[in-house]
């Protein structure tokens, strides 16, 4: 564990350069460059808002803003995007970087760290865009937004833990890479992002509690839309789950590392 941290520190320049290069490379030769990163999730929000706002707007109690549904959507998408981006990129990470792992010696843990760094940067840009849209719709930033820092950490930990476990297993059982995107789709709809949590029928409620993203997305709503502090009891379980998943992910990553290169 200590060796991993030491390796990461020695390769800090590489990690920072990699995150920066990824940005440069992704938007090289596109006119709008980094704007695309914000345009994609915002257009997703716009589509949902246009299609679903009339259906669901009336069912969002506790907000006066007439754009309430759009705000609600954006808050959820902000959380979900970070989660699904990290999971799906970790999922194929080792397969994509297989050649590099076979040919060069470097701390392998740098790979997921680069992914996390670049996803967090994307998320930060999206957050800035969300703030601008919020302000345009009449929702001003509040102090409660500082809750987003720990909340982001929780989402990241959960996503990295899950992503590492799935990414490592995917090297050996490639079906994982096919099935996870489907599961993520289903998961998205089982998380109150495009709908309000209180439209869920009572008999499904207890089932929803098993969804670790449920409480986190709720907390994002609390902080961004309702501008109140999140319910710490509710996220407590998710925090526990994300720490456990992180440890499991790191453990599997360490155990699998030698065989991973053999199988790539």
């Amino acid at each position: 564990m200590f060796g991993m941290l030491k390796g990461l520190w020695e390769y800090r320049s590489f990690i920072v350069t990699s995150i920066r290069n990824e940005f440069i490379a992704r938007f090289a030769r596109s006119r709008l460059g980094g704007l695309w990163m914000i345009i994609h999730p915002l257009s997703q929000v716009a589509i949902y808002a246009l299609i679903l706002s009339n259906v669901l707007a009336a069912r969002l109690p506790g907000i006066d803003n007439k754009y309430a549904y759009a705000l609600y959507l954006m808050a959820g998408v902000l959380a979900w995007n970070l989660f699904s981006e990290i999971v799906s990129r970790c999922l194929n990470l080792f397969i994509e970087q297989g050649n590099l792992m076979k040919k060069m010696r470097f701390p392998r843990i740098a790979l997921p760290v680069i992914v996390v760094g670049s996803c967090l940067l994307n998320n930060l840009l999206l957050f800035v865009a969300v703030l601008v849209v919020f302000a345009a719709l009449g929702q001003m930033p509040s102090l409660d937004m500082f809750w987003l820092i720990p909340l982001t950490l929780v989402v990241t930990a959960l996503a990295v833990g899950l992503g590492l476990v799935l990414g490592v297993v995917n090297v050996f059982v490639r079906d994982i890479g096919q099935v996870v995107p489907i599961i993520l789709q289903v998961w998205f709809w089982f998380t109150p992002i495009v709908y309000s949590a209180n439209v869920i029928p009572e008999y499904l409620r207890s089932f929803m509690n098993f969804n670790p993203m449920f409480s986190v997305v709720n907390a994002y709503h609390d902080v961004l839309v309702y501008q109140v502090s999140p319910d710490l009891n509710e996220i407590g379980i998710t925090i526990g789950a994300s720490i456990l998943l992180m440890l499991l992910g790191l453990f599997m990553f360490r155990r699998a590392a030698p065989e991973m290169v053999d199988s790539l």
Binding site: Y11, K103, R105, F172, M252, P258
Partner: protein, 405 residues
Amino acid sequence: MTLLTVDNLGKAYRTYSSEWKRIANWFFAGAKPNHEHWVLRHISFAIRPGEAIGIVGQNGAGKSTLLKMITGTLQPTEGAVHVNGRIAAILELGMGFNPELTGRQNVYHAAGLMGFNNHEIDGAIKDIEAFAEIGEYFDESVRTYSSGMQMRVAFAVATAFRPDILIVDEALSVGDSYFQHKSFARIKEFQRQGTTLIIVSHDRGSIQALCDRAILLEGGTVIKDGAPEEVMDYYNALIADKENASVEVVSLDDGSKQTRSGSRKATIESVSLYDRAGAAVEYVGVGDEVTLCIKGEVHHDLPELVVGYVIKDRLGQSIFGTNTHYLDCKSTSVAAGKKFTYKFTFPANLGIGSYSVAVALHASETHIVENFEWLDLALVFNVVNVAQDTFVGLSWMPPKVEIEA
């Protein structure tokens, strides 16, 4: 003090009846693999600072696997590699280059991958740029580079910092011949400053020229470790065995259309090359006298039999060819069933390199009129320079020098 110690190293690839068993094993389940394939086993050697080691072996002998374990990309299944110092490998140049980034950005990335921080790279970037010699292109995106330019930048980064151990794949050619010389000079300079070289090669010449020790791998183990000459001789014997066997296969196989042609009224049985002492050789020193021996059998009564041969370079260009018609010693009225042996003795006044011999049996001046048998690649031999002054080119024409004041 040893720089690198390889201690009873072994690598096995394990297959399980189900991949889930492998995964269960990470959690100490103790599932048995249903197949273990050892590609390397019981490898032990030590390398001292400043040595130059050649690693030789046929394809599949385990050279790459061994190097990957030394560099640390592959984990050994048993045994260990102890390294005191930094290893750099020039095996895969341009790994991790991103075509959308500029040469400069890629240099930072690639050097970062080697473990250097930006501060250290800042100090070396000028040298890297100067060494690569690609001018303005250094700040253009790599997708606009020719492959040679990309190689230049990649080599400049890979050798920007002198490593304690440098692993070089000899087959590697970096760009044009000017840059090849430049990169080779840098490797030599590193060696002079105390870098240990590990060179992977099939080429006797470069192993003997560069290395003071060679290790021969075969079937996943070290079968010879010693002076380059001794190891290379052993290696050649090993290969010769193989080649003779394959020649037999070719001569028996009817599918060998490309190598053999002709009416088969007379056939070639064997083609071999002997040195002055009468021993079969595959390596010939520049200027040494050798004898090409062609044995065959006549199957029909022939009014005339001409035996000829052509020596070709590795690109297939004829270097020298003649036949018994031109040499004015053709046989006439040969009866069926007669066996024959022709010996051509000549000095191997050839440049360093690999050569092949094509042999033909025909009537009259050329094989165009009546071709009994034509055999391409009947024999392959190498010319090495052991005793003569250094020279370039395909032929050896030693001059006498007179300087008039």
